[in-house]
Symmetry: C3
Subunit: 158 residues, 3 copies
Amino acid sequence: MSVDTAFKAIAARHGFPLDEAIKIGGNYVPLLQEGEVIYVSGQIPRVGDVVRHVGEVGTDIGLAEAQQAAAISTLRALALVQRHLGSLDLVRSVPRITVYVRSAPGFTQQSEVADGASGVLAELLGERGLHTRTSVGVSQLPKGAAVEIDFLFGLRRS
Amino acid sequence: MSVDTAFKAIAARHGFPLDEAIKIGGNYVPLLQEGEVIYVSGQIPRVGDVVRHVGEVGTDIGLAEAQQAAAISTLRALALVQRHLGSLDLVRSVPRITVYVRSAPGFTQQSEVADGASGVLAELLGERGLHTRTSVGVSQLPKGAAVEIDFLFGLRRS
Amino acid sequence: MSVDTAFKAIAARHGFPLDEAIKIGGNYVPLLQEGEVIYVSGQIPRVGDVVRHVGEVGTDIGLAEAQQAAAISTLRALALVQRHLGSLDLVRSVPRITVYVRSAPGFTQQSEVADGASGVLAELLGERGLHTRTSVGVSQLPKGAAVEIDFLFGLRRS
C-alpha cells in the first residue's frame, strides 16, 4: 500500500476530509519550501470552517480528545504537504514538531497529548516519520483551539 | 524605490529609529548566520532602552496596540538583518516566524496580532516576505512585553 | 583541555551523571541529524528518572534554581549530542535555543532564567557556543518541570 493510500485510510478514520479546501490566511502561507526543507505554519484542529476541538485541556477537554486534536492538526499538515509535493512519498524526514497544548493550570500531560501527533506520523511514515518534539503548555491558542502544532519536513535523501 | 529606502519610510511611520544602538544580551547573539539561513533571537517591542508595549493583551492592551507591538518587533529584526547584510535586498525569503502573544485568559486573537508582523513583511518585501507562521498565547514574556517574535530569514536564491 | 573533558567537569559540578541512560519516549526521538544540523527535542531538567526542578518559577522556584534547571536541560542536550557524534568537538555552532519557563503570573525574568543555559554553552564551547535565543513564559510544562529547552546544533564548517 502506498503512503498516499495509507494517508486516505488514516484521514478517513479520523473523519478528516482530504478533498476539502484548506483555509489560508492573509499575508502568510501555510507551507513554504526552502531548499529541501518544508516549513508548515502552526496548525489547529480545523476541519473546513470549524475548529473541531476548542477548549482548555484538563478542564473542558480530556486527554483522549486532546490527542485527537493533535492527530487532526497533523493530518492538516500532511494534507498541505501532499498537495504541495503531489505525494507523501517524497517526504524523507520530519526533523521537528512543536506541540502547543492549551493547558489548565494543573495539567502536565503535554507529552501525552503530543503522542496523538507522533502516532499519526509513525503509523503513516514509519521510520521516516521519527521526529524531534517539543511539547509545552500555553494559556491560549488562536480561536481557542485545544492544540496547535507546527512542523518541519525534510526532502533530503540522506 | 529600493527595499532599504522603503524600510526607512516604514520604520519612520512606526516611530522606530534605525540609527539607534540595538541592545544586546550576554552569552547569546541577536542574529546568527548559518549557511544561507539567518536566525534572529526573540524580539520584543523595545525601542532603545524602553519596551514600548508592556502588558497583557486583551486586558491592559487592545488588539490594535498589540499589532503595533508585533510591527515594532519585526522592525527590530529587520534592522538587525540590514546591519548584518548591509542591505535587505539580500533577503530572499522568510521561512518562519513564531509569534508569542502575552494573552489574557479569554483572548483568542493571536493570529490577528501576528498580522501586525506579517503586514510589515508583506509591505516591505512583497512576495519574498511571505512566511509560515505560528501564533500562540503565552502567560508571560521577558520584561512583561506584550509580544515576542523570532524569525528565520533565507538568503538562498531558489 | 578538550571540550569533552571540560564537559565532564561542568556536568560533575552540576551533579549531572554522564554515564546514565537517558530516557527516551515512544514515537519520537531525542535527537535527529538532517544534513549538518542536529535537532534536539525539548529537554526538561531530568536526571535519570527524576525531574529535578518541578514547579512554577516565581512562586515555587526562585531565579537561581530556575537557572540551574536551564543548565541541567542544556547538559542533557549536550550529552545526547556527544553520544551521537562521539565528541562535542564536532559541534561548530548552536544556531538557536528556545527556552520555555513555567512562569508565575507576575514573573518576567525569562531571559535571566535562560542565562543558565547560555552560560553552560559559553563556558563549554566558547565562540562556537554563541546562539540565538527565544525565552518565553508558559503556563505549564511536561511533568510540571520548571524549564524546557529545545536546541539546534550545527556541524557545518563555515
